[in-house]
Amino acid sequence: MTGYTCASPDEQYSEAERRNRDVVLDFYDAGVNRRDYAAAFRHLGDHYVQHNPDVSDGAAGFREFFDFIEKNFPKFRVEIKRVFIEGDMVAVHVRSFDGPTRNGEAGVDIFRLEAGRIVEHWDVIQPIPDSIPHANSMF
């Protein structure tokens, strides 16, 4: 996965933080963009608490949701713009393309890890409107 920026230079992070970031980026690219569930789910812990209201709990819920996306929006993809890491928390500020909304969506996903495995996920997603009151973009 390329094109993203981390909030801090690499040497500022602890080893565990760099590992957590790499786990989340690989999970995201495999699960969300390639829909390669076997590759994605090896990063999950023995539970995966889902807070997105449109997705059922656990790995099964993740798969059910992205099977639906694959079927209805096969070109759907998400670009990671910026990554934030603090200890066991990793957040990504993202833009989606070719999904259900005309201009794509801006979103933030937050992941919690335990011992290098992803165990919990929250997100907030906002469709990008046709016009916004400044020239700075949502990113």
Binding site: S14, P53, G61, F84, A91, I110, Q126, H134
Partner: protein, 135 residues
Amino acid sequence: MSDSRNLQETRAEQARRNKELITRYYDLALNKKDFAAARAYIGPYYRQHSTYGADGPEGLGAFVEWAKVNLPQLHVDFVRIIADGDYVLMHNRGKNSPGTKAVVDIFRIEHGKVVEHWDVLQDVPASAKNANTMF
């Protein structure tokens, strides 16, 4: 003490300081709706990425004045905060906005002042496919 431990302590101290700064700033701006007080936390510029406000400190000021009249009961609970370098990311619950919204706000800090803001907002739906809530 090793260099790497020094680095981690400096980083933790910066995170603590930035979380405190943003929590106080946000509470003044959106909960107390006191833009004059919040203004003291803003740097020489304020680059706005939210779809809800115009650019600059004056754009935020206009939004706060608008909220004072149109959303007087608006209150934002800070649910979790992640600090990384010059950035603070907050996962927030906006109540009486109207209805309840899930929000992530991201702030960038330069020389101890807030200079840039991004956000995403989503209505909390009446029902969900899991029992975990959006928070």
